[in-house]
Amino acid sequence: MKNKVVINGKMSRRDMLKMMGIGSCAIVLASCTPKATETAAPVEAEPTTVPPTEAPKVVSLRYQNHWTKETDAHYPGMLWLYEEFSKKYPNIKIENILNPDSTESFKKIVADCAAGDCPDIIHEGNPDMWKAGYLLDLTSYLDEDKAWKDLFIPSTFFTTEGSTWGLCAEFSPMPTIWNTRILEAAGVGDVPKTWDEFMTVCEKVKTYGKTPCSWEVGGSHQWHNIIASQSGGLDAIAANQFDAPQMKEAFSRLKTFVDNKWLPENELEITWQESIAFFVAEETAFYLDGAWTIANNIYSSGAAPDLRNYVKYAPFPAVSDNGSTVELKVGTPLALSAELKDDPDKLDAAIKFFKFWFSKEGAKQWVLLCKSPMGIDVDLSKLEGVDPGLLGHLSAQSTAQTVYSLPVTPATVERGWDDCQSGLDTLLAGGSVGDAMAAYQTEMSKYST
């Protein structure tokens, strides 16, 4: 006699389980089918009368970025951008895809492009992506609209071998940002203007019980400033001379911080977020960062409400012949996907989006709402409502003896901000200046020149 379970002559348990298995397979298969695209239009019946004027085709552009989270300095600007752009071009939809912070956002975009799924608007393109063929050449679009091209600060174009692929969405000085409350308590009258004064200030801050700075944010900019202050330093960077004496001098001077323990005890293990948090928590006396730090950090809810009143922006102290310095960072290249060439409607929409954003009005709103300038010149003297913090941040340029930008070459853009980090980490790990130079040169050998 079989042990078969029959439930009142209806389907057996085995058969029921078989049907459940078939059903679950069907669900899995159905979920794997591709979605219908937004641009797929339903079939319309043939009109019997003269048709009205055709409405513009709805076009959707995908834009992945990390600027559209509420805590980001650029959030108000992005809201304005999307709102006003959609009013002007109601048929162009921007599909915003929020990524985590800048590092993860960049990785995700690069991975998507490698997988053949580039977003239409690419946040932070780079020369690698250009060489890989992911980015659209914007040169012709700029050349055929001279009025648009003339709005830009020329040194802010991201160009490789004559082709412009990126427009600068962040063009900011990187002054030294001092906490004057700590300086006053430490017995320091004013921010230092020379290297010797700088050393004295750091000693006093340390004696007072605070830490002068953390390199995790701004360390590389200190290094750039020391090089820029020396004759021939910037030329050495532009020429990729990674064994230049100016660079050795920079490591040598920064080693003073390690030797005197002027950095957090666990500097090697902390992240850049923790580094900025030290300043916001008024544990460190200074750091270097761009205008975005005003909204992101100094004005953040984690900072004391009056911290903004005790912040002073100044050039980096003079080290050598070129005097005090301020680096102007040309950053955040906005690019378009090369795949747009295959879709004229999307290409047209994307160019419109760029022209709307990178305009006088767009740049003005960016200064007012984000406190962060773009690569388009804005006459602040004619602008009302500019945040005093931003004015202070920008004012450091006017008192610096040397204002410079790192040359926007494929090599420098590829290396990014933290080009000397391997050298700085070597100093932190107890290495000599020679060890730091060796680590730096080894790291630089991986990049194109």
Binding site: G21, I22, C25, E265, N266, E269, L428, A429
Partner: protein, 304 residues
Amino acid sequence: MPSSKKPFSAQYGSPLGIFLFLLPGVGAYTLFMLYPSLLSLYYSVLEWQGGPISKAPFVGLDNFTQMLGDKYIRLALGNNLRMLTLNWAFQLPIALMLAYLLSRLRRGVTFYRFLFYIPVILPVATMALLWRFIFSGNQYGLLNNILERLNLENLIRPWLSGNGIVQWTTSFPGAYDSIGFFIIIFLAGLVGIPEEQYEASGIDGASSWQQFLYVTIPNMRGVYIYAMILALQAALGGFIFPLLMTKGGPLHLSETLISYSLYLLWEKKIWGYGSAVATFSFLLGIIATALVWKFGRRGQENLN
């Protein structure tokens, strides 16, 4: 003479039913495990640093020979071996002893079993952040704070940045957190040991320790070999604690093979070489597992 052998469907059920039941599991495994592994193997023989893969040149075993001269591979392998040492020398013996004690406990077994299993069920990211907080070298680090309060300042160390120290502090959490998992495995094995053997040894005058050595351990040999293989795979594939605690730093000192592979893939965008490192880790795991299985079984056969 009629055949006594039952037809397949009578013996095993409908082939279609078997296929349909296996399809979701096998399909998911193929799609999410086997296919990416094979793709990774394919990428590992290419020089691919972005751009269309069709344009990436085939370089054969160049990516693998490059590993021979890569000092970070040696650092990473060293850290994987440290994880293995901690797993085999610390994690498994402690798990076995605790399982043995639990098996002899008359009351509170469920409570202690739950207590030991808590680290296993907590999210790994949470555990990594907790360990980072414990080992942090700044004034908020728990361990250094405790040492300071106990007047043991001479023992204070840069736990997450010191060379020779960070390699162990990033390997330890993985060994510690999985103790509960192995306790459960060993408990299941201990349940299968006949009680008569313990009674007989007790009658012969064996102490608890002698019972553990001469009754428990021989009977647990098979389960222990299995646990060793699991611990080996965890060690060779370990990356999550170094990644979340120190991002493999400082200066790649706490990298493991997988975390270094992730660094090459996502930070440096060297897809070909990064895939080669991942493939190497995979092959190393297979070979090591086969060796442990082979020698473990040989020992088991001798015992039988």
